[in-house]
């Protein structure tokens, strides 16, 4: 295992690694830690799963007449044609 602790890997280095912005030498050390550390493997897996889960917060569909309902609402509330 590299000299890095899980704390350093997770708190300080993980986002750089995931962004692909880590220098190659650091990347090797990072991956060496991950390979030798089952808790960090699970952590990385669930960190990535969190990102995939967040993407599901977007709606699959929108109301077809939404633009018209917005315009009608604003026209009614604004007191004049918008």
């Amino acid at each position: 295992m590299s000299d890095w602790t899980c704390k350093q890997v997770i708190l300080d280095l993980l986002i750089e690694y995931e962004d692909g912005e880590m220098e190659s030498q650091e990347r090797v050390l990072f991956e060496r830690h991950i390979e030798m550390c089952p808790p960090c493997v699970h952590f990385l897996t669930t960190y990535r799963a969190t990102g995939r889960t967040l993407k599901l917060l977007k709606p699959e569909e929108i109301p077809a007449d939404l633009a018209q309902s917005v315009l009608a609402f604003v026209r009614a509330r604004a007191g004049r044609k918008a």
């Binding site: 704390k7 993407k55 609402f73 918008a82």
Partner: protein
């Protein structure tokens, strides 16, 4: 109903004057048109951004009716407050904050505001810097089930809404809405390194909360 598309239609670059014949007006062209009372400019702005605002509102509110009403309120605010928009800034950054505030304001009316201290939910480490045993559970395979994944997404949305705005807005804009780091940093008026720090802490928090509700026994060989 129609599918939500990806990015909104790209506008022409902002310029000091209106667009040429046939060119799509920029956001700034439309802003100036709305300020001048051009009703067509407002209609174009609605057409350009209504799906994006609805998507954001839905993510916060998790309810189609509330999301539609929040979208209406957002455009009403745009119509009434456009005079306060500083034209030296990027329009969508300003408008995104208007939309986000509308959605969270509506969410707070639905349930009491509760802001959790993010540090309470960051991963725990032993004194030697290694992960504590509680972090061994791997719930990631469960999101292969669409129903479970959507349930977890809903809970994630609730957890995010309990964050302070600094973290909440960063994770919404980047991870949910898919905005670029540059656009999010500009919207929040912070540096890119500061954004990444907030984003990472917010992700760690959401991961921790999702792990807590998806707790599985530690794998064989893991420290208890």
């Amino acid at each position: 109903m129609s599918r939500v598309g990806g990015e909104p239609a790209k506008a022409a670059p902002s310029g000091p004057v209106g667009p040429g014949a046939g060119a799509e007006p920029s956001d700034l062209d439309l802003v100036r048109g709305i300020k001048a009372g051009d009703e067509g400019a407002f209609e174009k702005m609605v057409q350009r951004y209504h799906t994006r605002v609805y998507s954001l509102s839905y993510g916060v509110l998790r309810n189609a009716e509330d999301a539609e009403e929040a979208t209406q309120d957002t455009f009403l605010t745009l119509y009434r407050k456009i005079g306060t928009f500083d034209e030296s800034k990027k329009f969508f950054s300003w408008f995104y904050r208007v939309a986000l505030n509308q959605a969270y304001s509506r969410a707070r009316r639905r349930r009491p505001a509760l802001t959790v201290p993010i540090d309470d939910y960051l991963p725990k480490f032993a004194s030697d810097g290694h992960l504590a045993s509680a972090d061994f559970s791997d719930w990631s395979p469960s999101i292969e089930d669409d129903a479970i994944a959507r349930e977890l997404a809903g809970r994630a949305g609730e957890f995010i809404s309990e964050l302070s705005p600094a973290y909440r807005d960063a994770i919404w804009m980047y991870d949910v809405e898919g905005m670029s780091t540059a656009d999010v940093a500009e919207t929040l008026e912070i540096s890119i390194p500061a954004l990444k720090s907030r984003l990472h802490r917010a992700r760690l928090y959401v991961r921790e909360r999702l792990s807590a509700i998806s707790k599985l026994p530690a794998p064989d060989g893991a420290p208890k």
